[in-house]
């Protein structure tokens, strides 16, 4: 087993694909049990509340997604104060890419918590310096549609673009459920291959083209849109789908294996492969291995 427990995750994933996997922590000494409990109360909470003694009882294991889903990917940071490529926009925490801190693995609790605090302070200071210098523009105060994607699910016949009936416009819960269906299975996203990634990409593209369109959305500042819990939930679901599309588009062009990205068709780490992969775009996604020259994702 390597230092990061990478072999352990691979062994567990392989076993889970064959059937249920159980564990118990019976090799820990009495002293270690006490230290584990005191140092990691969060880990013991699920056991305690379900009346499981993890040092004695067997409990079932599952794997949770990290990497491009959570923990590594995020908005590209372009400076030392958590700046992004959009003037006045700063990113912090899980939203901000911490690839420069952690590379191709997730940081886990320690680095991720440190990053949340550090990036929060850096971005907060930078944003407040910004705010002191200039007044917000109209765009900064009122949200506008993301290109042609509507701010809310369509209710009446505003869906001509996709040729579908209004009732086929997916709800936020349906969008989230569909993204989970494509992004969570170990078969397609713990182990990736050109074929599985192409299939996921096509499914996500279908989902995207089925989103409700806003006819006026492509015009900047076309009417002030109210921010309601409904529009926030819709935007969150759409953003989740966009992130899934970026993750898969990036994974397709990363033709080696490293960290949490495991390609069955390119199982080796390649030193000459690009260090970073960037992706951007909504209706059309572009990828880049240097953040400067972009090409359409295929």
């Amino acid at each position: 087993m390597d230092e990061l427990g990478e072999d352990r995750q691979v062994a567990i994933a392989a076993a889970i694909l064959k059937g249920p996997v159980f564990a118990r922590l019976d090799k820990a000494s009495t002293n270690e049990r006490e230290m584990l409990r005191r140092g990691q109360p969060n880990c013991f909470l699920p056991y305690d509340r379900q009346s499981i003694d993890p040092f004695r009882d067997k409990f079932e294991l599952t794997l949770r997604c990290e990497g491009t889903v959570r923990g590594v990917g995020g908005i590209r940071i372009s400076g030392s104060r958590c700046e992004t490529d959009i003037a006045g926009l700063y990113a912090a925490g899980d939203v901000a890419s911490r690839q420069d801190l952690m590379g191709a693995i997730s940081g886990g609790g320690g680095p991720n918590a440190s990053w949340a605090i550090a990036s929060g302070i850096m971005s907060g200071n930078a944003a407040s310096d910004d705010a002191k210098r200039k007044r917000p523009t109209r765009d900064a105060r009122s949200p506008s549609p993301l290109r042609s994607i509507a701010m809310r699910p369509s209710r009446q016949g505003s869906d001509q673009a996709s040729g579908k009936s209004p009732s086929s416009s997916p709800t936020p819960a349906e969008i989230v459920a569909a993204v989970r269906t494509h992004m969570l299975p170990l078969e397609t996203n713990f182990y990736r291959s050109a074929d599985s990634l192409a299939a996921t990409r096509a499914s996500l593209a279908d989902l995207w083209s089925g989103l409700p369109r806003d006819e006026n959305g492509s015009e900047r500042g076309s009417g002030r849109l109210p921010v309601t819990p409904e529009t926030v939930k819709h935007r969150e679901a759409v953003a989740m789908l966009a992130c899934a599309r970026w993750a898969i588009s990036s994974a397709i062009v990363r033709r080696d294996s490293r960290g949490m990205h495991r390609r069955t068709d390119f199982p080796e780490f390649r030193k000459d492969a690009p260090t970073r992969i960037y992706s951007r775009g909504l209706d059309t996604i572009e990828v880049s291995d240097n953040g400067e020259e972009w090409s359409a994702a295929r």
């Binding site: 270690e32 230290m35 005191r38 140092g39 109360p41 509340r49 379900q50």
Partner: protein
Amino acid sequence: MIEIVSPSRCTACNICVRVCPSNVFDIAPGAPPIIARQDDCQTCFMCEIYCPHDALYVAPNAEGPVAITEEEVERRGLFGSYARALGWKDGRMGGTREDTTWELRATLDNRKKSGS
């Protein structure tokens, strides 16, 4: 997911409403907050540990609601149990000095060195 806001413990201070990152609660004037959008709960336990009166219970199952009553939570001593395990008190942060993780690392490193 958030399961219980205990009416007998809650003082309607609404701290849980403010710390919730996914807007699960609605304020009810002069009464305990209402769990209005349980499905939106991320099971992050923030509301529970920030509650100064140990009035909330979050079940560890993040995928859906579970059947648990206030009586059972009370009987099993689960109200405030996570805050106590962390070393938080009255909704305030604490317990960092009790963290033994650094010691555990040394123990595991020694075990590796001695090859057992």
